[in-house]
Each structure stands twice: as C-alpha cells, then as structure tokens.
C-alpha cells in the first residue's frame, strides 16, 4: 500500500540511526540516552492516558517504580539468572496490572470526574513510595536497592535495545492510536457521556487502557533498573510522575512523538544543565511549563503540526455502505416502554411523582409540558437506572433495574440529548463508527476505509447532507448538521426505542421539516417507538401519534393528538386561560 511507504521508511531510518548512534556518541551521552529512552516509554503511556483518553495522570511513575523494584527485589533476593528474569518480568507485569486495576476501579466509575481521577493518580505514587520507605531491607527503604547483579550487556547494546524498544513502543502506540480503536479512546476524551449512551462501558474501557499502559510503564521501569542496577524510591515518586507529565505537555500531548521528543530533550538537557545549575534548571522547566500551557496548549510539536497542517485538507475518504440488515422486527407492535409509579425526589422536593404509561413500537409519542415540569428528568430516568427514586421502568421488556446507561442502551434504547452531543475532534465518519462499536468492534491496528450503517442511520446521513462531509471534523459542522449527526449516531445503535429531547431547537425551517419526515418514517416503516420532548406544539401536532402532558412532575394527560391539543388543561398551561382543577384528570 503506497501510503505506508513513507512511514515505513521513517521507521527504518530511525532504526538505522539507533543502531549507528552508539558508535558516534561518547559514553556519557550513551548512558544518558539509555535512561532517557526508558523514561520516554513511560512518557508515551502518560500521553495515551492524558493526550488520548483525557485523564491527566501523575501516577505512571508508580508503575515504572513497580517494574524497577520487581527486578531489584527479585535479583537481590534470588540472584541473577534466567528464571529470575522471567519471574521478575512476570511480577512486574502482574503487580502493575493489579495496582492499575485497583486504581482504575477507584478512578473510573460512572459519573467520576477527570479531576477526581487526577487526584487519585496523585495518591498512588505517594502511597507506593511510603510503602517502599517502610519496607526495610526488602525494599532498601530510602536508599533503594543496589548491588545486585543485573544484565550483562555492553552499553552500546543497551542503547540499541532501549532505542529499538522506544521505537517499537512509539510505532505501536501511533498505530493503535490512529486506528479505529484509538479514535474510540479519543471519543471517550471528547464526550464520555455520549459514549455511555452509545452502549460503551467507558469505565471498563478506561480501566483496560490504564492497565495496559501500566504494564508498558512497568516494563520500562524494569529495564531502567536493569540498566542502572539500582531501584530507588524516586523512580516511583510523584515528582517523577509530574516530570513525565511535563515532558508530555512540553512535547505535545496526543501526538506520541511529541512526548518522546519532550522526554529525550528534558532528560538530556537536565543531565547537562542540572548538575551545575539545579535551581535555575528547575526554574526554566517551571516557566516553560506555564508558557506552554498558556500559549501552546497542544505542546511544541502540536504547534508545529498546526502550522504544517494549515491549508492541507484531509486526504482520507470514507466510503459508506449498508450494514447487513438486522433481523426483522419480530413483533411490530410489542410494548416498548413500560413505566410504573415512577418518582424522582431531591430531598423533599418531588420532581416526578407517580408517572405511569406504556408505549408501543411504531408509536411517535410526544412529551409536552411547561419548563420545569420534569420532562428532561423523565427522559433521564428512562435511560439511566440509577436516576429514579421510586417505581419501575422496562425497555423492550427488560427491567432496567439500577443499571447504568450503557447497559440500558443494550436493551434497545437510543437517547439523543438536547444540545447536539457529538465527538468534536472526530470526523463525521469516526463519530458514526464509534456509534457502531457494539456491532463492528473497532480494528486495533488499522482504520477502516468503509463505514457500514444500518438503513435508518444511512438515510439520515444521506438526507441531511452529512454523506458529503464524512471526513470533516464534527466541530466544523453547523448546529443543524450536528443534530443530524447525533441522531444518525443514535440510530446506528439500531434502537427499538428512541428518546429525543427537543431535537428541533435552533433548527432552520427546512431542517425541521426534514426531521419530521425522518421521525415519521422511523416510526411507521422501522417500527421504532419514539418518545419526543418538544416545546413546539405545532411540530408535535404534525407528527405525533399520541401526546403525554407532564405538569408539575405529574402525568396530567395521556391521549391522542386531538384530545390533548384541544383539552382545557393544555390551553391553561400554554395560554394561561383559567380552567377549574376539577377537570384535570389525576
């Protein structure tokens, strides 16, 4: 494939440089570079966690330290030998993975904030270092472990191995991050809750990424200690973790190459400068960090790439194709939503109380009511099992119990948010591909050139004009197109039940008409049950098959379009004309 020739040449060139370099450099620089390479590998893991997944982590140093200490403890206690090497690697991987899994469990749960995850990542190295300090001769306390026999390699060989290891890690990271899987991680960073409502278990995904990056970091630490024949508490410390973040920030987050450059430059420069000017050196690093964060948030490489990219348009083109049709609807009139005695309270304040209704497939049900009536709250309670205070909800016959949205979505529910919720830095095609994660697991190392969509999503894409802009970033779309994109994403889930919160707000007349057509087709032809929150009574009247009126947290009316539109209650609510309360059905 011709497009791969240039990267392949670059990699080959880099490999050649790494193999030749040790012959040209003096021993001191080679020493520094070996360490710098291992540090750079750890920096790549920080970049993946932060630049791609959006979690600012200070804790990768802990895993680095775990790797270093696994080697040091094993070689100190049992001597150096083949089985010890494998046992040490095994221990490094196992312990790092276990600690990462626990950290991940603490950091990532439905509703956790990025700030909280950052704070946890701070605590991990601090706790680990205290454990190392109090470990006595087993961990060597503050002095660390030294004096064990380690790998016997020439320093030039070390540099070649470390350099190739770094190159391999960087290439692997780049390939994966640019693959469909990598785009899924970016989607996670852009909009976690949208991912959740696309049926993706974001917490688990984040934990998996953390565990993998922890393992890589631990291996880097393992060889770092193997090279220096020292494991020290600093290798696991919060300060080192912060340094890794600084390297990534300066180099350019989310670029893999930037952090590598950042790590190598800082390590080498500090080796030459910090020995003689420790305080001034740190001052420079601190100032550089502030300036880069303020002026070049995407780091130096990011700034350069922006300059280079300017004027160059995306070259990739994505080809649409229909997805293999899902199994035909078995029972086109089945119960789609069943709500029983639903209540939602904040303390003593009841936002929803005793709401009860049933909706069937093929229905286009509108939910109306004044602001503050609880419409959006009701939508939330239908799609997230943990929201409601009392009552039961079943989607397509499945009780949603206390399940999080990503599980409810798998019962066949799709929810479109009020404000267009898409993945801003992803292209249209990538957004849709993320939405298809459940059906087409994303490729780990490659990017698909085709995009398979179910008919409903396909028709939205084609009718809205998104089809011509598949390779454009979502943030460049108009408001209306973003709304259409989000709808197409939700429809890519092939839902049985579609929840829409004011989908037409801010749309032009033509867009609105297009929306109406799409929705009616979905209900009639594809037998979806659509529940629509809408302000515009005319729009509601035009497309609904049934209307539910919510007033002050209670279900005030449930009937056909004519019944509701002409009811006294609706006129009272919407125009202020007085009606006696006796007429209001309970």
């Amino acid at each position: 494939m011709p497009p791969l020739i240039v990267p392949a040449l670059l990699v080959a060139l880099a490999a050649a440089v790494i193999l030749v370099a040790p012959l040209l450099l003096d021993t001191y620089l080679v020493n520094i570079l070996v360490r710098a390479c291992f540090v750079a590998i750890a920096a790549i893991t920080v970049d993946i966690m932060w630049g791609y997944c959006g979690t600012l982590t200070f804790g990768q140093s802990a895993f680095f330290g775990i790797g270093a200490y696994a080697l040091a403890i094993m070689f100190t206690e049992y001597g150096f030998g083949t089985w010890q090497i494998f046992a040490a690697i095994g221990a490094a991987v196992a312990v790092a993975a276990a600690v990462a899994a626990f950290t991940g469990w603490l950091s990532f749960y439905p509703g956790s904030t990025p700030l909280y995850a950052s704070v946890i990542s701070l605590v991990v190295p601090i706790v680990l270092v205290q454990i190392l300090y109090s470990g006595g001769t087993f961990t060597g306390s503050s002095s660390g472990l030294v004096g064990f026999e380690s790998f016997d390699l020439e320093i030039e060989t070390w540099l070649r191995l470390a350099g190739l290891g770094l190159l391999a890690t960087a290439v692997l990271a780049l390939v994966v991050m640019r693959s469909d899987t990598g785009r899924l991680l970016s989607a996670l960073r852009d909009n976690d809750s949208r991912c959740t409502y696309l049926g993706i278990d974001t917490s688990r995904l984040r934990i998996v990424v953390l565990v993998l990056s922890a393992i890589v970091s631990a291996l880097a630490g393992f060889f770092y200690a193997g090279f220096g024949a020292v494991a020290a508490p600093e290798n696991a410390s919060f300060a080192f973790g912060t340094n890794l973040v600084i390297m990534v920030a300066l180099g350019g987050r989310g670029t893999v190459i930037g952090p590598v450059i950042g790590a190598l430059c800082i390590e080498v420069a500090s080796a030459y400068l910090a020995n003689s000017l420790p305080y001034v050196w740190e001052l420079i690093v601190g100032l550089a960090l502030i300036i880069v964060i303020l002026v070049f948030p995407d780091g130096l490489l990011g700034a350069v790439m922006r300059l280079v990219k300017r004027g160059r348009s995306a070259v990739a083109t994505t080809i649409l194709q229909p997805a293999i049709a899902a199994t035909a609807v078995s029972n086109p009139d089945a119960v789609a939503i069943e709500v029983r005695a639903l209540g939602k309270h904040y303390g003593s304040l009841a936002v929803l109380d005793g709401v009860q209704f049933t909706a069937y497939r093929g229905e286009l049900l509108s939910l109306v009511g004044p602001n503050g009536a609880g419409k959006t709250t009701l939508i939330r309670c239908l799609s997230d099992g943990r929201e409601r205070s009392t009552g039961n909800v079943a989607i397509a016959g499945h009780d949603i119990a206390r399940l999080p949205p990503d599980r409810v979505v798998r019962f066949g529910l799709g929810r479109k948010f009020q404000t267009a919720s898409v993945f801003e830095t992803l292209t249209v095609a990538e957004c849709l591909r993320v939405a298809r994660t459940h059906a087409d697991p994303p490729a780990l190392t490659s990017r698909s050139a085709t995009l398979a969509l179910p008919p409903a999503a396909m028709s939205v894409v084609e009718r809205s004009g998104l089809g011509e802009r598949l390779d454009e970033e979502a943030r460049n779309l108009s408001h209306g197109l973003k709304q259409a994109l989000e709808l197409a994403m939700v429809l890519s889930l092939e839902p049985d039940v579609l929840l829409l919160d004011e989908p037409t707000a801010g749309l032009t007349r033509a867009e609105r008409q297009g929306f109406a057509d799409i929705l009616t087709t979905l209900a009639r032809r594809d037998r979806l049950c659509i529940l629509l929150v809408e302000h515009d009574l005319d729009f509601v009247r035009e497309i609904s098959s049934r209307i539910i009126v919510l007033h002050q947290g209670r279900l005030a009316l449930d009937g056909s379009v004519d019944e509701v539109v002409n009811s006294e209650l609706v006129r009272e609510i919407y125009t202020g004309q007085h009606v006696s309360h006796a007429e209001v059905p309970a």
């Binding site: 003096d26 021993t27 001191y28 620089l29 020493n31 520094i32 360490r35 205290q130 300090y133 109090s134 006595g136 060597g140 306390s141 503050s142 002095s143 660390g144 030294v146 004096g147 026999e149 016997d152 390699l153 020439e154 320093i155 220096g228 024949a229 020292v230 020290a232 508490p233 600093e234 290798n235 080192f240 500090s270 080796a271 910090a274 020995n275 003689s276 420790p278 305080y279 740190e282």
Partner: protein, 386 residues
C-alpha cells in the same frame, strides 16, 4: 562471570582514554557529587567549600606529583536517580581520577555500581549507617558503632537512664542508626520502651510525641533526616514540654545554632566540633575564614572529613607514585592524614578509627564538649575483607 566480561570490556574502552600519556601539566580531577538540591542542599555548600580550600592549599604547594588538582562538582539531587546522573557525568564525561564526597546513603548506593564500572576510587566523607562495602569505597567518617556508644554510655551512667524512647525518620539512615542504638542499649542493660518513625518528609510529630510522653521513658534518642524533620521534631518536642535527656544523632552544630533556644540541652556525638582545641583545627578554621570571608559556611562534621579526604587522596597518590587506580586504592588504606580531627587512617576494613566528642548544645547555640573518646574503632563494617 558475565559482569567481569562487562567490566573488562569497559575498562579497555576506558583505558584508551584515561591511560593515554599524561603530561605533567595534566590536572588530577577530583569528582564531588553532592546534594546541591534536595535534602542535603543545606550542608552541601560547606562541603564544597572545604574541598575548595584543600585543593587550593595543595596546589599552592606544588600540587600532587607535579600536577594540579581540579574539582568537578555535580549535583546528585540528594537521591539515587540524581546520583546516577552525577556519577555518570563525573566518571564518563569528566573522567575524574577520584570521587570524594559527602552524600546521602541513597546517592552513595546508586553511585557504587557506576564507580565499579569506572573502577574509580571513591572516598565517602559522610557519617552513615554503616556496612557499605565495595572494593572502591573508603570511608573517613563515623558509623553507628562509633557515634552511638558515647551518648548511650553517658545517659546510662550520668543520667541513670534505663528506659529509652527512639524516634527516627523512616529511611535507611534513621532505621540503621536506631537499629544499632537499640542493640547497644539492650547490650548495656537498658530497655527500649518505644521506637517510632515518620516518613522522611513528615513534619507532624504530634502523635509520636504524645506516645513518648505516655511511655514513661527517661531518655530520648532521635535519628531523623537532616534539616526540616530534625528541626520540626525538636521544636514540637519543646512545645510539648519534653525535657528528658535528649540525644540527637542527626544534629550538627550549625543546625543547633539556627534552632536557637529550642536546641539547648540536646546531646550530640560527633567526630568534629568547631571547638576542638588543636593547632591543626585552629589553622584550618582560620584558613577557611580567610578564604571565604562572609560567604563562609560553618565547618562541620561533614565538611571537615571532606577536607581531610582530599589530603588522604594526595598522600595515597604520592605513595603510589601515580594516579593508577589499583595502586591508589591499595595506598589509601596505608596512608594517614593529620587534620583538624587528628590523625586519621582508613585501615579498618576501609573505615577509620575516630576520636569522638560528646557535646551538649548550650542556650546560646554553641556546643560544649563534655567528654571525648579517643580513636573509637569502627567495628566490622566489611567483614571477611581486609
């Protein structure tokens, strides 16, 4: 086996550079990896100063074997990671002939494998917890076996202390010192009623002090990290009204002075105090004062061994007749130096017998010598090797 292969190949590589024909004008380089930043940054400047004085004095008298001495100072950030870089830089970049330095145990330990790779003699000039053993390492400062007995013996005898409470920072030095102290107390018939540690950067000693007060101890011995932990512990002890006999294994004169009234009454044990009444010490202090004037950092138990170690290296090179590393390493055990601390010879498993002083901090911050113990043996620090 394999490591030998590595070292020989490295040595060959080095031989090509370091053993190239040396002109008499070529200076002899002394590497000083030291904690310019981090925990040791407070005391490091005084260490560098005393090394500078020694070099200046020696150069003024014609150098060593007709060659000038030159100092190469590098920051080890007081820790292992920084030490690796500093040792790498000194040994492989600056290609120094010898390393002479006061460092944390972490930094020393991290440097040792690099020292071995470079086959460079290394004179360690900081007191430490003992038992560091490497063919390249010489130590001219005290170890617990030398420092602790004066205090404990004095407390046993003069203060009739039976029950000791030990407080330390949780790191190699703190734990190592107190482990020996505990062993020694129990050997001499006393009892340790409490032993508590705080993390190295900890500064809130509240609950430990409460435990101390509740323990019924009649003497206290502490071994914290230098600087902040030591200061905060002393201040908080005084604030809590603790007035037991208080032996501090980590305090030096300068710190005691800075702490003001809070330090008064503390017992310390050292191989050097400024008040040593010998001509050598007086000359040394005068030279320091003359050279550095207002910039002078008070000489102390860490900087004086550094000064003497430079002279020890000079003597060893002269005895060996060259800077050849094997010969110098052998000679270091055989030469003795007359310095501010008296005559010092590193002939006990590469450690040195030292005269120890038991002192007490006075209200004005000065240290009054109560007793001195001549040529205390360092004990077996490197058993099985000579």
């Amino acid at each position: 086996m394999n490591s030998r292969l590595l070292t020989t190949s490295l040595a060959l590589a080095l031989a090509a550079t370091t053993l190239s024909p040396a002109f008499a004008a070529d200076p002899i380089k002394i590497g000083v990896p030291v904690g310019l930043s981090g925990a040791n940054s407070v005391v490091a400047p005084s260490v560098v100063q005393s090394a500078e004085l020694a070099v200046e004095e020696i150069n003024a008298k014609g150098g060593v074997l007709g060659r000038k001495l030159e100092l190469e100072v590098a920051d080890d950030a007081s820790g292992a990671a920084g030490a690796q870089k500093a040792f790498d830089a000194l040994i492989f970049q600056k290609k120094v002939n010898v390393l002479i330095s006061m460092e944390t145990s972490a930094a020393r330990n991290a440097g040792l494998p690099i020292v071995a790779r470079g086959k460079t003699p290394y004179i360690y000039t900081s007191f430490y917890e003992g038992k560091s053993c490497s063919p390249y390492l010489y130590v001219n400062a005290w170890v617990p076996d030398q420092q602790v007995p004066p205090i404990v013996d004095y407390f046993n005898k003069e203060k009739k202390a039976k029950n000791y409470f030990l407080i330390g920072s949780d790191y190699a030095f703190g734990r190592g010192m107190l482990a020996f102290t505990k062993m020694y107390i129990e050997k001499t018939g006393g009892k340790v009623v409490g032993e508590e540690y705080l993390p190295m950067d900890g500064s809130d000693w509240t609950s430990i002090i409460s435990k101390l007060k509740a323990s019924g101890a009649d003497a206290l011995i502490t071994s914290t990290a230098g600087g902040a932990p030591n200061v905060t512990l002393t201040k908080q002890l005084r604030a809590a009204g603790v007035s037991l006999p208080y032996g501090n294994l980590a305090v030096d004169e300068g710190t005691a002075k800075g702490m003001g009234a809070d330090a008064a009454g503390i017992y310390l044990s050292a191989s050097y105090v400024t008040g040593i009444d010998t001509p050598a010490n007086k000359t040394f202090l005068a030279s320091m004062a003359k050279k550095f004037g207002a910039e002078l950092k008070t000489p102390n138990d860490l900087s004086v061994p550094q000064y003497e170690a430079v002279y020890a290296y000079k003597a060893a090179v002269e005895k060996a007749g060259s800077t050849d590393q094997d010969k110098v390493l052998k000679a270091l055990a055989e030469v003795s130096v007359d310095g501010p601390r008296g005559t010092i010879k590193m002939d006990k498993q590469r450690h040195a017998p030292l005269t120890m002083y038991l002192g007490q901090v006075q209200p004005d911050g000065s240290v009054k010598v109560i007793q001195s113990f001549k040529d205390v043996d360092p004990g077996a620090q490197c058993p099985g090797k000579s």
